[in-house]
Symmetry: C2
Subunit: 236 residues, 2 copies
């Protein structure tokens, strides 16, 4: 099985997705937040590329969530902090979500045959779900401000490690995937430290959101895998 890895959303080309299962990775924080929202009972998540589109998609009874520059958007009920997605707010509701990088990456990956949301908190379950779909896989690291983000690279490496472990025939990856696997193996005992020292991690900690970083760096705390069906993500 082939597993390609794309370093950031602006490097993704349409032909990299066709006939493949895409796993979109935005550890800080969109795909982690998607897992948190589904754990809290959100029935589905509609990714929106712009704030205007999110407002247009909103229907009474929905929850509107998202961020720009790491902050909640004016008039939105929730931001992009996974810790804010509590049962009493989102249980049974549809979530319309727009974030700077993560939701854009999901939309970019829509040409894939299957699209899953992967994060450190659900990586093993996500690898398992992807293997069951029996297609070559592409890991799309969302990145931050069109640049590679270390936490997404670590998650890609973790996913490669799990995929290789769970796939009987083993996997083949590209040069960038080999690098991400080595990155993960070198830093696996220091995940939170490495993420906290990255560009996005430092920025969030400075904004007082260190607890978000901690939450997003915990391996396999959940087995929920958001999967795109039509225009919305639901539980796999």
């Amino acid at each position: 099985m082939q597993v390609g890895v794309i370093a950031s959303v602006n490097e993704a080309r349409a032909d990299q997705f066709s006939h493949r299962t895409a796993i979109v990775i935005d550890v800080l924080r969109a795909t982690s937040t998607m897992v948190a929202a589904m754990k809290a009972g959100a029935s589905s998540i509609v990714p929106a590329e712009t704030v205007m589109e999110a407002r247009a998609l909103f229907r009474p009874g929905d929850v509107l969530g998202g961020e720009r520059f790491n902050r909640k958007i004016a008039g939105f009920e929730l931001g992009n902090s996974p810790l804010d997605y509590r049962k009493e707010i989102v249980d049974g509701k549809r979530l319309v979500l727009t974030t700077t990088n993560g939701t854009r990456a999901v939309i970019k990956a829509m040409r894939a045959e299957n699209v899953l949301a992967g994060a450190i908190v659900n990586a093993s379950a996500c690898a398992k779900a992807a293997l069951e779909l029996r297609r070559d896989i592409v890991l799309l690291c969302a990145g931050s401000n069109d640049e590679f983000a270390i936490e997404d690279g670590l998650c890609a490496g973790f996913l490669l490690d799990r995929l290789d472990n769970q796939c009987q025939q083993g996997i083949e990856t590209d040069d960038f995937g080999t690098a991400m696997l080595a990155l993960y193996r070198n830093r696996s005992e220091h995940l939170l430290e490495t993420i906290s020292q990255g560009t996005a991690g430092r920025r969030l900690i400075k904004l007082g959101l260190g607890r978000d970083v901690e939450w997003c760096a915990v391996r396999d705390s959940d087995d929920i895998v958001p999967r795109l069906t039509g225009d919305a993500l639901t539980k796999c």
Copy 2:
């Protein structure tokens, strides 16, 4: 001291070079070949972007070298194999060199205040030379076919390791640099194996050029550092 790392030549933007020392990395094989050519006595190396430009720059007494699709160019005296750059051919001569990725990367880096050619064979000397220039540093991995190449990433990680070791105040790098340093530290005992399994390594081995790959994977076999002065590289 800040050390940025660029994953491949097509990702390089002009503003990433100004006021900095650029180290251009094309382990397989352009920057390794530059070191070999200077070791064999080449007086200078003129990088040319195209075959036509190389022919135009050629003057009687020069050596014309380079490759397209890993093969010697018709009418050129030498290809891009470091092992071919022997004293009896290049000693005392000017080399006009054009390769698919490496010479293009040197030309792209020309906006930098200083441009050095780095490879695994001269990394420690290259790190030392860069530090002596007392500017922030940018490592430009040439890559292969506009994609990240594992051997260039390993060399970037090796350079970061040496820079950090040699710089009294330590260095700061970006997320991609952190990943390359971890890649190098994870694979440092298996350099040749990792490079041989990469996309470019496998291609060269298939073409019968496995000895080139072996030569290019030896750490610090030389202390020659090619440095750009005007339009040509000379010994630092």
